[in-house]
């Protein structure tokens, strides 16, 4: 089968364009439907560095409590895990599964898979399992809900602040950082890694 690496197809309307070099920070939009065709994203060094930062933020967000409360002197605190587990009680336990997936498991997989493929890409090669890892990254992206999680925690704090003493925990700041980092590293542009790791391409990661 013939393939055309100099062409690009808009995934929203099937318009075909010839690839043009993009200046840093620029995005190409489809002239027919207005969707973004591709973006000149991060170079590999920054991409990997931000992925490692996201990994650290992820650990803090999951280990440290996100909210602390105190009721008549009795303290209590919630982590992300504890929140998902709180739904897992009683007859509706299954709703805990999508929640745990979207705020814990999917971000974890995104960071782990990206670190794996980026570390190899920096060395100028495709990681073992590159194709399944990349397909999984595309599949996971819509189910990553760190930003929804952050807003949910803030609404929960507001809900309880009338009744109890509520204080944000360190996990909340880490979740905020994680939200920003995941948005930067695991957006629609992950497909770029296919081109960046094309055999014979420039391994420094500058857009071809």
């Amino acid at each position: 089968m013939k393939t055309f690496s100099d062409l690009i197809v808009c995934e929203h309307c099937d318009s075909v364009y010839r690839r043009q070099p993009l200046p840093p920070g620029a995005a190409a939009r489809c002239g027919r439907c207005g969707a973004i065709l591709r973006r000149a994203g991060l170079d590999l060094d920054r991409w990997l560095a931000l992925t490692l930062a996201a990994a650290i933020a992820f650990v803090i967000a999951n280990v440290c409590p996100v909210v602390r409360i105190s009721m008549q002197g009795i303290p209590n605190e919630a982590t992300l895990w504890k929140s998902a587990a709180a739904l897992a009680q009683g007859p509706i336990a299954c709703v805990a599964v999508p929640l745990a997936l979207s705020i814990i498991v999917v971000p974890f997989l995104q960071i782990g898979l990206l670190a794996w493929v980026l570390a190899h890409a920096r060395a100028g090669r495709r990681a073992p399992g590159f194709a399944p890892a990349m397909r999984l990254l595309v599949l996971l992206r819509p189910w990553s809900m760190v930003e929804v999680c952050l807003l949910g925690i803030l609404v929960a704090v507001a809900k309880l602040s009338h009744l109890l003493q509520v204080a944000p925990g360190p996990g909340l700041w880490a979740t905020a950082g994680l939200m920003a980092l995941v948005t930067l590293i695991a957006n629609r542009d992950v497909q770029r890694l296919w081109d960046l790791t094309e055999p014979g391409s420039n391994p420094s990661g500058t857009e071809a």
Partner: protein, 210 residues
Amino acid sequence: MNGTPRASQLRVVGCHACGLVCEDTLDGVERGGRVHCPRCGAALHRRRPGSITQAWALLVAALIFYVPANVLPVMYTSLFGRGGDSTIMSGVIGFWRGGSYAIALVIFIASVAVPCVKFLTLGLLLATSRRGSRRARRERAGLYRLIELVGYWSMLDVVVVAVVSALVKFQALSDIEPRIGILFFGLVVILTMLATMRFDPRLIWDGDGE
């Protein structure tokens, strides 16, 4: 209107998973047979198979679950001996009456407005695409990108109920527990997201006299 060629005119097909543009060899393939992307191995399609039918089915299922999600309680709160169930709307009204207009608005948008906009928009896109309508296609493409972008924010209430019930656990004194409504609500969010993914936005542009 626009001179840009489309994939079918150039006899190429773009891979859903990795974006590689491949020669369209799907003609000779029998039903059920598959052609795979030579780069990433994903199955190649000109359009997502069964797109409109499956999106309709998921959308109708979501619409059915939306009723119990709103009618049934999502949370049981017992504070200092006073207990009661609350639904999604009663939570919004509670914040509004308490003077927290901004939070009431955030919850209302995420839990009521976003699902309703998704039902209407996706219904409209499905109906017009099936008819091959040529009206306001660019605007409809924009609508699709909008519901793709805002769709998952409805998960907000599930997170709120989870965090609140994890925090308030003081046995006899005070307790907050999730209730069955939140399960239906979570299902609505997942089903509408799946429906949005099943819909193939390229259908909006088909029937262009190619």
